[in-house]
Symmetry: C2
Subunit: 566 residues, 2 copies
């Protein structure tokens, strides 16, 4: 186990010999910045002004796979850890440098090298910013189809390292479904390329082995990715469903008929209520016609300039779609800011100290205000004729499952603010509470049990609500959002840990998977054995062979780590 | 390296202690039968009456993963090799017991354990016969969508071990696209289950690692597979295309629009000609109305008894679709059988001794008889409304690429005889020639170069023709069929080896993949390094960790083997 025994100056000098003086740093501000990602647990201590428990010794910015290989070989020779870092939007602590060492920021490897129209493949470097990537593709008439809410603050490499999913994954697939091959530098500094038709019959497939490895086996430096034609048409529709169960049934039927809506979101009763509330409370929206022009059905290519469909943040701050937005909005209102800082803080603390009561009360209020029921949003996009047919069949299937058509507005409303959640977390934290999301998944048969079990597990500790999204023929993901509060930093951390422990225990007990697309990092490391069982031996074997000196991102993904965890 | 030093009686007794006396055999007939699969190279010596070069010492028929684990542990303790065996339809020598040892026949593990309607998943044991599997699913209203020409003589486990493709893979995917999880006994006798949503974000995915491992890492004992609703409608259409290039372009456009025809077959000029000839020469077909009833558009479920759409062999022997059928038909004609055995033998020998001449002559004859042009067959199936729309869009795309509509008959003709190729090889061999197929693949951009390079490489040695099938948004597979002839057994083997060497060298040079769905086995073992390059170290590492004593299917998949290869 590498333990950062080397002198930082020595490391710096050796790295400077590879990348030059200007792309290595020992500066305190850099070491602080690279001490964490967006894992909410770390924000609890940060809010209290605590120093990060783990910082890298050195930060380096390579510009090629060759430089990354040389850096990793140097780290091997010095026996210091290496932690890859994209844009730092991870929510599981995957980029925390537990053992110190070298943090490798990939963001200077940011070229879209080419787009091969004939093969509908592109070659992009791992540090490419998500939103810029999508915008550059769109200008050429393509889309990657990957739209995480973090698209403005995440990289292609980060997506690949965590098997990420975007909001339109039900049509385009998760990121791993769109990879033709990666260039990967292993933990002993070898450069591997895994390109090839995924469907080749020449032994095991390597790409699925490296995706999701979260820096523990090596670093993705570039990738050949499948692109799709930019959509000619986008169609949204909202539905009211009687309850969660009938909503799930509707989605299952749609998916098992082979239909491929891009967006499928079913909000449970609480999430539906909070959504409605935050819409009521929001500042006046732009004029409807303007909305349409900016966000509505996409004109066919050739109709004029391509609309910037990946842009959502304009003059107004983007709005979230959920509880985070609701809470965030409360504190972003200028008139109420000071009041909340004093009074709201205490009110929220008082309320969240009794989470069962809050959960139950909200169910009651929601029931009175809106009656029972769940909101569902469906979005389809693609070529005009196919999208029209697919929309008709999809909407028909949902109506047969009891869905009441609400027109396109609920869908457009969601679409306009689809990236907002990533910008609202800090506002909730300023109230003294914490917020996080837990994305689990299972087959359809187990899905209702998974929903009940995890909701009940979290509800003992915090306010919780959920929506269902990312659907497949064999199952679906559930996205829980929770807000908790405790009197002190240490108690908040304990509460946070208890929520995750009970939530993931419930998930494993019911036979769900502990992560759909946020990854494992430090947060879920302890649950990897329950998830993979006997197959964990495969991970240990891989780790031993690809990172023999055990320097790559130590302590993540359930791999053994001798040092202190947090 | 395990080298079969143990006494067969000792092995037998130890295995009998696990499975009982009746499921272990030392019988000569069994050892002969399990000495080979359907690798054409082995048939050359077999025809000459030669004894197999490699036989297992013992054959065993386990009935559960537990028994397989115990057998593998026994093999480890004795230091003898283990070779898994399905139905023996492999065409690359993957089941040849190079180092002797224990051949494990999986065919007694043949239960369809369950079909979970809600999740559209089934649980099936690895030794299940392909056609029975499909028939049992169809009775319950589902299809697995996997229809290799070997469906009557292959097993689910064999499909998984080789990453097989069926004739409808363009819609349903290759077998690896439909796996939810496998139960796998590793080379040290551990039982691993890899089940889970493929899209889970909890580290590397194991299933793609075990699929295609061809018995070198362990044995698949059962699998959870995705099923699809049985089709309500099936539509066929034939087209004449100007040439191969316009045919390729048509398929590419269809795939890149996101359309999913089930069957896409583009025959090159020679294959088109041979097909036409063998149709002209065929015995009278069944009455057309009868055909429709048995093979035509599938009635919607509920219209009555489900048609046995997986059945094609009736009173008449199934016909092949290609050169194999042509040659096979020549010798299966009763009146000409004796004449061919004497005269035809010599004529074929004389002709095939000048392969360049034969290839050129046939091009000329084909050009005169039919003009230039290539036949294309498209088939679509699924729910009624979707299939209708998809067929309209697909046919429109092909017509825009210059396709001339020939109606449904060419497609129906192919469909009726789609499994015939597996039954015609032996007839060709009886003429003294040999026949084989080479299935390579590449991205679209490289596909024309791949076609030209491999065709030219083989044409120096043998008569060769090709069709394009199994298409994706990023590329397509090419299926070459060749017939060669040499005066003696040894010379035939040398010619056979030269064809493969030159064909695969050309493939690698152009950047194609050496196998789309037949696997590697012994045949392509030497080309694995050119194919995987640096990533071969991953395979070595996996092998070392999952099969530490190196007893699993020695000498396959490009893994090191100290003994004699053939």
């Amino acid at each position: 186990m590498a333990r950062a025994a080397a002198d930082p100056e020595v490391i710096r000098d050796k790295l400077a010999a590879i990348v030059g003086d200007r792309r290595v740093s020992l500066a305190d501000t850099d070491l602080d910045a690279y001490s964490r990602d967006m894992w909410p647990r770390l924000l609890i201590g940060l809010r209290a002004g605590e120093k990060p428990a783990h910082r890298p010794q050195v930060v380096v910015w390579p510009e090629s796979a060759r430089e990354v290989a040389a850096i990793i070989k140097t780290a091997n020779s010095l026996g210091v850890p290496v932690v890859p870092y994209g844009a730092g939007s991870g929510v599981c602590g995957g980029a925390v440098p537990l053992g110190g060492g070298i943090t490798v920021d990939t963001k200077r490897m940011d070229r879209l090298v080419n787009v091969r129209r004939e093969d509908m493949l592109c070659h992009v470097e791992a540090g490419k910013n998500g939103e810029r990537f999508e915008r550059e593709l769109f200008r050429r008439g393509f889309t990657f189809g990957h739209f995480p809410s973090s698209i403005y603050c995440s990289t292609v490499g980060g997506w690949l390292a965590t098997r990420a999913a975007g909001q339109m994954s039900t049509k385009y697939g998760k990121v791993e479904d769109r990879v033709f091959g990666v260039t990967f530098v292993t933990g002993d500094g070898e450069v591997i390329k895994t390109d090839g038709l995924a469907r080749a019959g020449r032994g095991p497939a390597w790409t699925p082995l490296l995706l999701g490895s979260e820096g523990t086996l090596g670093i993705v430096t570039s990738a050949r990715l499948r692109v799709a034609p930019a959509p000619e048409l986008r169609v949204f529709r909202g539905f009211d469903m009687d309850d969660v169960q009938s909503g799930i049934e509707a989605i299952r039927r749609v998916m098992q008929r082979g239909l491929k809506p891009a967006v499928v979101r079913l909000y449970d009763e609480r999430d539906t209520f909070i959504n409605s509330m935050s819409i009521l409370k929001s500042e006046p929206r732009e004029a409807s016609s303007e909305d349409r022009e900016r966000f509505g059905p996409v004109p066919a290519p050739g109709d004029g300039a391509l609309p910037e469909i990946t842009m959502s943040a304009g003059a107004e701050a983007p709005r979230s779609t959920s509880l985070v937005r609701f809470a965030g909005r409360l504190v972003s209102n200028k008139r109420s800011q000071r009041a909340i800082h004093n009074l709201g803080r205490e009110a929220m603390a008082a309320a969240l100290a009794r989470p069962r009561l809050v959960n139950a009360a909200l169910d009651k209020i929601a029931g009175r205000a809106f009656g029972r029921g769940c909101r569902m949003i469906i979005g389809l996009e693609g070529s005009r004729i196919r999208t029209e047919v697919e929309a008709r069949l999809t909407f028909g299937e949902i109506e047969r499952a009891g869905g009441r058509d609400l027109g396109e507005e609920p869908g457009l409303e969601w679409y306009r603010h689809r990236y907002a959640v990533s910008y609202q977390m800090s506002k909730v934290f300023r109230t003294g509470a914490f917020v996080d999301t837990m994305e689990v998944a299972s087959t359809w048969e187990r899905l209702p049990a998974l929903y009940r079990a995890v909701k009940a597990a979290i509800a003992r500790h915090a306010f919780v609500m959920a929506h269902f999204s990312h659907a497949y023929s064999d199952g679906c993901s559930i996205y829980f959002t929770f807000i908790g509060h405790a009197p002190s930093t240490r108690e908040s951390e304990r509460l946070y840990d208890a929520i995750w422990r009970d939530g993931l225990d419930a998930t494993t007990r019911v036979g769900g998977t502990i992560s759909h697309h946020h990854g494992i990092g430090l947060l879920k490391s302890a649950y990897m054995t329950a998830e993979h069982r006997e197959a964990m031996t495969l991970l240990f074997a891989l780790k031993a062979s690809m990172d023999p000196a055990n320097i790559m991102n130590p302590g993540k993904l359930g791999l053994p780590f001798a040092g202190a965890r947090l």
